[in-house]
């Protein structure tokens, strides 16, 4: 059996039913442990004071905001190449979750920016890129909502997602060219030297895991909703024809 079998709507509904509660539970446990650990049991940073605690929300949300878009891109490509309906619906299901992550990253960033940089908002490359990403998400969702025929909508949004990805990357570098930033470089990398200190690093990892599981759980749940909504529409159309 190939992995594509899992993308058959019926099979998808079958295997996600037992998986979904576990994913949610895992997400909940990771988030609670990570955030409580981060909030109550980590020391303040010697320069940033207690604001360093915002990192446990800001970094995972920012990470997932980008990963959600990448997931949508992959799902769109799968839809275009193999025409699995579940794939298209998963891309649609992921977009609002991505928007939420982008908003969290922007809000926590603004709140963090006020005491650290003395301003809520600066036209810094990273901040600006996220704002642009937010606009891309809005356009993508609006296009889904505007088209009635589900297959046409899936096709058009896939094309938009692919073209949008190219332009999102272009904007990222264009923005770098346009302004020098306040934002620090990446706080996470495989190169251990550049990472944040271990005390902050472990709870942060737990939080990131929590956000990842939450994203997966939400996407699975929303995809299930979309599959059902689609089936319902098909049934209603059949009733009307009869």
């Amino acid at each position: 059996m190939s992995m594509w079998e899992y993308a058959n709507p019926k099979r998808f509904m079958g295997w996600t039913r037992p998986v979904l509660p576990w994913t949610f539970a895992l997400a909940g446990v990771c988030l609670v442990v990570g955030l409580v650990w981060g909030f109550f049991f980590t020391p303040d940073d010697f320069r940033q004071g207690s604001t360093v605690k915002i990192i446990y929300l800001h970094v995972p949300a920012a990470l997932m905001a980008i990963n959600a878009w990448i997931m949508m891109l992959v799902a769109s490509l799968i839809w275009v190449v193999r025409r699995h309906h579940v794939s298209a619906l998963a891309a649609r299901a992921a977009a609002p979750v991505g928007v939420t992550m982008t908003l969290i990253a922007l809000f926590t960033g603004a709140i963090w920016g006020q005491p650290m940089w003395g301003t809520y908002w600066a036209w810094d490359p990273r901040l600006t890129s996220f704002l642009i990403l937010f606009l891309f998400y809005l356009g993508y969702i609006a296009l889904w909502e505007a088209i009635e025929d589900p297959d046409t909508a899936a096709d058009l949004t896939s094309v938009l997602c692919m073209v949008g990805s190219i332009f999102a990357i272009l904007s990222r570098y264009a923005v770098l060219f346009w302004s020098q930033g306040l934002h620090q470089g990446a706080s996470l990398s495989l190169d251990k030297e550049e990472n944040v200190a271990d005390v902050f690093w472990f709870p942060l990892l737990v939080c990131i895991a929590g956000f990842v599981f939450l994203f997966i759980a939400l996407v699975l749940m929303r995809t299930r909703t979309e599959i059902r909504a689609r089936r319902m529409r098909a049934l209603e159309a059949r009733v009307q024809r009869a």
Binding site: L143, I147, D155, L160, G164, F167
Partner: protein
């Protein structure tokens, strides 16, 4: 291909909207800005490059929804799809026609409006050059957006929401080139990157446009 270009241009001129409206809109936006920010010459000349670029971007946006809408309604788009001319070519021609009716007049009119905003004298050449290089990209990206929304009844607003984020890189490099020109810096880098974006959009987006048109005509 040339026949199609001629036809589109003729239609745009006859409808009267093409040239006139976009230019008038451009003029009005530029005139409104000093009312909004105050008449200080120094401030205006500092923000002039950005205003001229944003205004031309909005003016280009204004006529986008008509690129395919009429042809879609009267069925000539379906006819074009079955003609020997590939849809990629149709997209390219449509973008070109849009550029000739909006981008080119905007480029020519922009220096005149630069006086209104007391743009630095060194910047005029770069303003002309950057608009000349950059506005084709605006037309091509817009044609893609118009193809995406062609089947929708009220696509106009959605079209702006889809297209404006795609305009970001063009706007950044275009306005940056003029700003550097005004500050007496070397704008070659920005102009080259702007040219790169235009070349890239013309190389890739006709295919995306044709793909979306095929989906919409299905």
């Amino acid at each position: 291909m040339i026949a199609l270009l001629r036809r589109d241009l003729k239609l745009a001129v006859r409808a009267g909207g093409g040239f006139g409206l976009g230019l008038a809109f451009f003029l009005i936006v530029v005139v409104l800005v000093p009312f909004g920010v105050g008449p200080e010459t120094e401030l205006l000349s500092r923000i002039a490059p950005g205003i001229l670029w944003v205004a031309s971007l909005l003016a280009a946006l204004l006529s986008l929804d008509r690129i395919f809408a009429l042809d879609y309604e009267d069925g000539s788009l379906a006819l074009l799809a079955t003609s020997p001319l590939p849809l990629e070519g149709v997209g390219l021609i449509k973008a070109l026609a849009h550029w000739i009716t909006t981008g080119l007049p905007l480029t020519i009119a922009a220096p005149a409006l630069g006086f209104l905003l007391s743009l630095a004298p060194e910047a005029y050449a770069y303003l002309l050059l950057s608009l000349l290089i950059g506005t084709p990209a605006l037309s091509m990206i817009g044609t893609f957006g118009a193809a995406l929304t062609v089947g929708l009844r009220r696509g106009g607003l959605l079209l702006s929401l889809l297209v404006l984020p795609l305009y970001v890189p063009t706007l950044i490099f275009g306005a940056e080139a003029v700003r550097r020109g005004a500050d007496g810096l070397d704008p070659t880098g920005a102009l080259l990157l702007l040219g790169g974006i235009t070349a890239g959009t013309f190389a890739l987006l006709p295919f995306a446009t044709a793909a979306t048109l095929r989906i919409n005509l299905r």
